[in-house]
């Protein structure tokens, strides 16, 4: 919905922001009710489709709730990157495909059941079985099977060497109570989740609200710390301005994904912390270089390079995305293992060179071409402006996620503006396996890249892995299969009563937050 006022073209978001900006100037300072009642009220706009983490399509909000209810075998320290035992007490690589783990004793699930090796064996064998049809099979399909080697000991057998195993085990592979899950299934687990985590789900209304109560029996001295806030109430509030109103009226203590304008207005208030946190999400342009679905101009590397030279990545990132966002040199998030930063071919902003490359490719008068996008429209439109300046006249096809991926996979999209959050996995294998290893989403289909990625995925020697991934990333940039654009950041706004630290993996750790 848009309105036009004296040359201003404002969308509903801007109108809403305008109204709220006015309100911000006059609104009384309402103290947060949360601290007094020891209840942290959090709000976000996205709906969590299911609380069963294995069927969650990697929506960050689902991960956030999941980490509160369940524990993994290991936990990656978000600051040091170190893997610390959580439900496991120790782990040992026996050989390249065998990982032994000793498990913690005396841990209880929220329903009173004792945690043991049976739960680990059941959860991992069930999740890695293709018949279980979990949402993100890539997360668990490296597991061959899991054996019980003692009441509190397990052996994880891998299909082939997979050095990123601990990273995956620490991300989205929580351990379920085997008897309960076998009885209630995914629907029951989503409606009444039971885990060992720091918070107990006490009221679940799908798509609306979840109430989490502190687990008084949570393990002491674990890497996740000990929860201090008594109750956390999450509510789904689709509209950003409504979230702001809730925050201003003291009924909400925490929100995220505030747009830059809203964040600027909120910063003017004295009683709120408004901070930017960089995320693992990256933006990039994917090209149909292989000609899947019919010939297209992007099959010519000179046209792809022309696009790369035409886009002012630095200027757009600074002007539009703002905050702590930065331009990235390679097709991954800089902290990911194997995400090489140096020695990767780069394309400086050079419209003249872009025009020359187009002419050389047989398009002296430019070309008309379809561009696809689904998430970050202002950014996509800025890219279109840059392209038009060198004679590439893109026709924008703005779609939702599903149809956009259909167009991408079937080769209907010559080039697409995309983002990926890498499922918060701090290892480049997650991105490269999904998009460059010959699967349905690999539209480059470059055998050299496929070989490099598959080889790197299964080598234990970390230096060799890094070298192979770098070689793959060099080739991806050299051939411009992807044009890496920028990182993103999230703006968090929360009451000053709350001690909260954001992390780049976009997983808000409320179990480590406390009242000031």
């Amino acid at each position: 919905m848009t309105m036009r006022v004296k040359g201003l073209h404002l969308g509903s978001v801007q109108w809403g922001a305008l109204a709220m900006a006015g309100a911000l100037a006059f609104a009384p300072l309402t103290a947060s009710a949360g601290k007094k009642e020891d209840t942290l009220n959090i709000g976000w706009s996205r709906v969590i489709e299911t609380n069963d983490v294995y069927f969650n399509q990697a929506v960050r909000e689902g991960m956030i709730v999941g980490r509160m209810i369940w524990d993994n075998l290991v936990e990656r320290d978000p600051v040091t990157g170190e893997y610390k035992p959580l439900l496991a007490t120790s782990y040992k690589w026996i050989n390249e495909t065998t990982l032994d783990m000793e498990l913690r004793q005396g841990v209880k699930f929220h329903n009173g059941a004792d945690f043991s090796a049976d739960d680990v064996v059941y959860t991992l064998n069930w999740a890695s079985n293709p018949e279980s049809k979990v949402s993100v099979p890539i997360m668990v399909n490296w597991i061959k099977n899991v054996e019980k080697t003692g009441p509190f000991a397990v052996r994880i057998n891998l299909k082939q060497p997979f050095p990123a195993a601990l990273e995956y085990l620490s991300a989205a592979i929580p351990i379920y109570p085997h008897e309960y899950y076998a009885r209630v299934g995914t629907k029951g687990m989503s409606e009444a989740p039971v885990g060992t985590g720091p918070y107990i789900a006490s009221n679940v209304q799908p798509g609306r609200t979840i109430t989490l109560t502190k687990n008084p029996n949570y393990l002491k001295g674990g890497p996740k710390g000990t929860p201090t806030i008594g109750k956390i109430v999450q509510r789904t509030i689709a509209d950003e301005q409504t979230q702001v109103a809730e925050l201003l009226s003291g009924r909400l203590d925490w929100m995220w994904n505030a747009t830059p304008d809203t964040a600027d207005n909120l910063r003017k208030r004295g009683n709120l912390n408004v901070i930017d946190g960089e995320t693992m999400r990256i933006g990039f342009i994917s090209f149909n270089a292989n000609g899947t679905g019919g010939a297209n101009p992007m099959q010519d590397v000179r046209v792809r390079r022309a696009v790369a030279h035409a886009i002012d990545r630095q200027g757009i990132t600074k002007a539009l995305i703002r905050g702590s966002a930065r331009v990235i040199p390679s097709a991954c998030y800089p902290t990911q293992f194997g995400c090489a930063q140096d020695g990767i071919p780069q394309y400086a902003y050079d419209p003249a060179k872009a025009k020359a490359l187009l002419a050389e490719a047989g398009f002296p008068n430019g070309l008309d071409i379809d561009l696809y996008g689904y998430l970050d429209r202002p950014h996509t439109e800025a890219i279109m402006n840059n392209l038009q300046a060198v004679g590439i006249r893109p026709k924008l096809n703005w779609l939702t996620f599903g149809p956009m991926f259909t167009a991408l996979q079937q080769g209907k999209a010559p080039f697409t503006h995309l983002t990926t959050g890498a499922w918060s996995i701090n290892d480049v294998s997650i991105t490269l396996r999904g998009s460059f290893a010959g699967g349905p989403w690999d539209i480059a289909r470059d055998q050299k890249v496929i070989d490099l990625v598959l080889a790197a995925d299964n080598i234990v020697d970390q230096d060799k892995r890094k070298a192979l991934y770098k070689e793959a990333l060099v080739r991806i940039n050299e051939q411009v299969y992807w044009l890496p654009l920028n990182t993103y950041y999230i703006t968090y706004a929360f009451t000053k009563d709350l001690d909260f630290t954001p992390h780049a993996d976009e997983v808000a750790r409320f179990y480590q937050s406390k009242w000031k």
């Binding site: 301005q241 409504t242 109103a245 991926f405 259909t406």
Partner: protein, 305 residues
């Protein structure tokens, strides 16, 4: 009258079948559902399995008949996003949307009809102009803007009403006003024009000549006739309120079926979109049918003619 009912029923049925066909075909155009479900890490085998499991590999007419057969038994399949039966999802969220729709409709009728009558009693007077002004403002103001303004005033500047949620009656006050106000202008103006026309009719003069009081003439004789087109309009508006409460539900975080529909469209949740579109279309058709029946009862010329 029975012939009239049968005729309208057959027409309603034909519309329902057409709507179900269009609804089914339109959603099929929205892309490969298997790809949406599989996500960016799915293999070819997984995509094929999803297509097989959902029957997407079968001929489209067969898919339609299977879907229609299920829908008629209240089985709309499972949501691709929530992985639970679509019927359960709609059933959980329907009370919020129905409550909001009924409250908004009541608000519209209770405010708009008396306003229309008052405006018609003194045409072109200050009162009439004020009533018209209220109506025009309602028509001109986008509901998302009005909703946010109410939130700004009653939740932020003077915090007396909760900005969002559905935990009690007070949560429905602002959404009711916003949704009801958007429908008010049409009802009010139609009542006014209907009353103006009727008040000049001979039988009203006769009624006054018989010595009947103002109230009796207005409400027993005039309004009954003036309200006939309003009944049809109100039925249509009610259907609109149920199906069109997406914006209001989103802003006030009521999370009823309107919000569910919006989420389903964003996530390409085909079964949910199909079911909601189908159900609301049926509801719309039913309301129109009931309005026709009510009109026929109010005005014998309709059922005889």
């Amino acid at each position: 009258m029975p012939a009239y009912i049968v005729k309208r029923l057959l027409l309603a049925l034909a519309v329902a079948v057409t709507v179900s066909l269009v609804n089914f075909s339109l959603v099929l155009l929205s892309g490969d559902i298997a790809v949406s479900i599989g996500g960016p890490t799915a293999t070819y085998e997984q995509l094929d399995r999803i297509r097989r499991d959902l029957g997407l590999d079968q001929p489209i007419p067969l898919q339609y008949l299977r879907w229609l057969g299920g829908a008629l038994q209240g089985n709309f399949g499972d949501s691709l996003f929530y992985r639970t039966p679509v019927a359960d999802l709609i059933w959980q969220r329907l009370p919020v949307t129905l409550t909001l729709g009924l409250l908004a409709m009541t608000f519209t009728i209770v405010v708009a009809i008396p306003l229309g009558v008052i405006a018609a009693l003194r045409p072109n007077s200050l009162l009439d102009r004020m009533a018209l002004g209220i109506a025009v403002a309602g028509q001109a103001m986008p509901s998302f803007w009005f909703a946010l303004m109410l939130i700004v005033v009653f939740s932020v500047l003077f915090p007396i009403l909760p900005p969002s949620g559905a935990a009690g009656w007070e949560y429905f006050i602002m959404p009711t006003v916003v949704l009801g106000y958007s429908a008010m202008p049409a009802v009010m103006r139609l009542t006014r024009s209907g009353m103006l026309e009727v008040l000049n009719a001979d039988y009203i003069r006769t009624a006054y000549a018989k010595g009947l009081g103002n109230i009796k003439v207005l409400f027993k004789h005039a309004l009954r006739n003036a309200v006939i087109p309003v009944v049809s309009l109100a039925a249509v508006q009610f259907g609109y309120m149920l199906a069109g409460s997406i914006v209001v539900e989103s802003i006030f975080a009521l999370n009823g079926t309107g919000f569910l529909a919006w989420e389903a469209m964003k996530t390409a949740d085909l079964p949910v979109v199909q079911a909601i579109m189908f159900l609301f279309s049926l509801f719309y058709i039913l309301l129109t049918f009931l309005a026709d029946m009510l009109n026929a009862w109010l005005d014998p010329r309709i059922r005889i003619g």
